[in-house]
């Protein structure tokens, strides 16, 4: 019974993702349809149109199994073996470098912003 409910809820989410694709198509958006579906679901939840318990169990199950659904895509890396051998080192340096910079800047800025907010609270 529990599995049937979850499967049904996953089905609802799938339909929402299709609606997202359709909206992206209609409005000629370059945003992935599933992201529009996600925003749509978030709006349905916050406005109370869709109670979260109607989809929550199935949604959390899908999120938990997400890595499994990624395998067909990630294994595609095998087709690019030669490319990675050729360009690998330069690419890895770029990825590592941009990750470190991104992390440093986003952490630093939000940290100092948070401190400032705290000081304002203390001051008032």
């Amino acid at each position: 019974m529990k599995w049937m409910v979850m499967a049904l809820q996953a089905g609802v989410l799938y339909v929402i993702s299709l609606v997202g694709n359709q909206i992206a198509d209609w409005l000629n958006l370059s945003i992935p349809g599933s992201l529009i579906g996600m925003i749509l679901l978030f709006i349905l939840l916050t406005t109370g149109i869709l109670p979260s318990k109607w989809v929550e169990m199935g949604a959390l199950k899908l999120v938990a199994f997400m890595p499994l659904f990624l395998i067909p895509a990630t294994t595609g890396v095998i087709d690019y073996g030669a490319f990675f051998l050729q360009e690998g080192i330069g690419l890895v340096v770029v990825i590592i470098g941009s990750t470190l910079m991104t992390l440093a800047v986003s952490a630093f800025v939000s940290d100092r912003l948070a401190r400032k907010e705290e000081q304002q609270w203390d001051g008032s």
Binding site: M38, A59, P72, T74, T75, L91, T99, T102
Partner: protein, 223 residues
């Protein structure tokens, strides 16, 4: 059909291994992918055959599971509301920086536009990165590898960088890891900074959304 059974079996085994020895290098998505890359090479199976013979059914769940990310975001809506500005500013800066570095560094070492487009989604969580990569004419399979490298880099070096920069607030730590290193970085916080990890997962989803809304529209100016 055989491949789908093998995939599910290997995945569950990988989850067990990760439970026993948790590290950024034992993430199920990484170990399972590595297993299949070796298996394909040994058996001479092409990726096309693998996907065509049933594995594609697994990808069908991917779009639904991206939509499902609205639930953890909704459950943490108070956190999102309280720190909305910090999270949004952190992820927007992170996204712009990633785009700039990918374009500048990529062009200077002579990478093609499609490879640069494959680098850019690296900071978002894997399912979103794959969808985004496809949208901006990148190669999703290559993006997948970059997402893993970005995640592991942040998980290992993130705590060190934040110590040097004296980032001590839970907000700063969560936003930094969630923005640059998605779930792999956030799992690292989960070990002894639960609060920062919660901010990290909200930031991760927020970064995925912001990136998907911004990048397709600005990339044309760079590539």
């Amino acid at each position: 059909m055989g491949w789908i059974v093998i995939t599910v079996f290997v995945y569950f085994l990988a989850v067990k291994i990760n439970e026993k020895a948790s590290s950024p290098f034992t993430l199920p998505v990484l170990t399972t992918t590595a297993f299949f890359v070796v298996l394909f090479s040994l058996t001479g199976t092409s990726h096309k055959e693998y996907v065509g013979s049933g594995a594609k059914w697994l990808s069908l769940f991917l779009n639904a599971s991206i939509v499902a990310l609205a639930i953890p975001l909704y459950n943490q809506r108070r956190l999102l509301k309280t720190h909305f500005f910090s999270i949004l500013l952190g992820s927007c800066l992170g996204i712009l920086l990633t785009v700039l570095i990918a374009v500048l560094a990529g062009k200077s070492i002579g990478l093609s536009n499609s490879i640069i487009a494959s680098i850019i989604p690296q900071l978002t969580t894997m399912p979103i990165a794959l969808a985004l990569s496809g949208k901006i004419e990148g190669i999703p399979a290559i993006t997948a590898a970059f997402v893993v490298i970005a995640g592991i880099t942040g998980a290992i070096a993130g705590p060190i960088i934040m110590r040097i920069l004296r980032v001590k607030s839970t907000i700063g730590r969560g936003v930094g890891m969630g923005c640059a290193s998605h779930i792999i970085g956030v799992s690292q916080l989960l070990k002894n900074e639960k609060e920062a990890a919660a901010i990290g997962s909200v930031t991760m989803i927020a970064t995925g959304i912001t990136a998907s809304f911004i990048i397709p529209y600005i990339i044309g100016y760079f590539l």
